[in-house]
Symmetry: C2
Subunit: 185 residues, 2 copies
Amino acid sequence: MALEYAILVSLLEKPGSGYELARRFDRSIGYFWTATHQQIYRVLKRMEGDGWIEVREVAQEGRPDKKVHSVTPQGHRALADWLREPVEPATLRHGLAVKVRGAAFSDPADLIGEVERHRAAHSARLEEYLTGEARDFPDPASLDDGAALVHVVLRGGIEYERMTLAWLDEVLAVLHRIRAGRAES
Amino acid sequence: MALEYAILVSLLEKPGSGYELARRFDRSIGYFWTATHQQIYRVLKRMEGDGWIEVREVAQEGRPDKKVHSVTPQGHRALADWLREPVEPATLRHGLAVKVRGAAFSDPADLIGEVERHRAAHSARLEEYLTGEARDFPDPASLDDGAALVHVVLRGGIEYERMTLAWLDEVLAVLHRIRAGRAES
DNA sequence: TCCTGCTATGCAACGAGTTGCATGAACAAG
DNA sequence: CTTGTTCATGCAACTCGTTGCATAGCAGGA
């Protein structure tokens, strides 16, 4: 399980509360590993029990107190160990691919709207990435080590979205062709 | 949940036993939706209860009897309904991306072997896809509707692997550059 | 004033997915 | 003759992930 480690990375980048972590998992780190606040709170508790993180209660004005978590040396070591361990090459689960294959047993034209919906979502995601890249990495040629690593991960996201958009266009072309072929017969 | 529907698609392509389905989920359909035999047997039972599939016991020589499942008209309808429903745009969980970001807090050179391992796995997967494409779609220009849909899904797999390989090479370049920079200081 | 929304944490229950194990018959390799 | 592999189905126990709900203070707008 990688959630523990995703949390360690995020807390090393900047300590924070469970709530703040949940926000980050809606953005940045969340683009590559998703988690809800429930999972996060549960795992934080376990990690605290394991001595990977420590908690400091911080009183705030105008809002509830929060528990700020930070990584202990043991936690840091656990992350370093995990980096050296092999990790399973990402099982992908692509519901849309299942639908495309299923379309052969139904009316393929029914899928066009759905594919366009996905296209719009991926297009928006690509824009987000590109905006973030322009903002955070205006000069990609001169980055320190940490920034270079964050940047290359973002570059992966960008290329993934571009590839996906191109594929969705291919799918749409096939669906339109099938519809045209059926209309004329 | 899409497992039911992935099973429906697979059984519409060809009826089969739970065991045979489990084999298929190691290949073809499994490239886009994974499942273990446990999940499959459990879901098959539920689907039978819902009247989506029907079971016929087939005696075999030299091996245990099997229960061949096939899709009922209700199951077919359930699939058609699902195709029209929106499906969540695939949450991706990329453990390697988490590791790359984590490498900033450890020795990035430790990751090189791991990234190369992934590169080899994706390279092998790409070869599989290309072999399959050459075998099953020697003339992609003239395909019937069903084959065109299967082919476009496979094309997605191919482009995904190509994109991933290019990204892994970028990651390796960054890791090597960091290692070189640290060695000289 | 009331309602909505944000920050902040958490419980309880459920459903999805994994792991380990068991059974039992056939066949091939050593 | 034993061991390992494939075919074939399944139980039990567990972890992971999701959903719904609860609480509670404060801010801002209708």
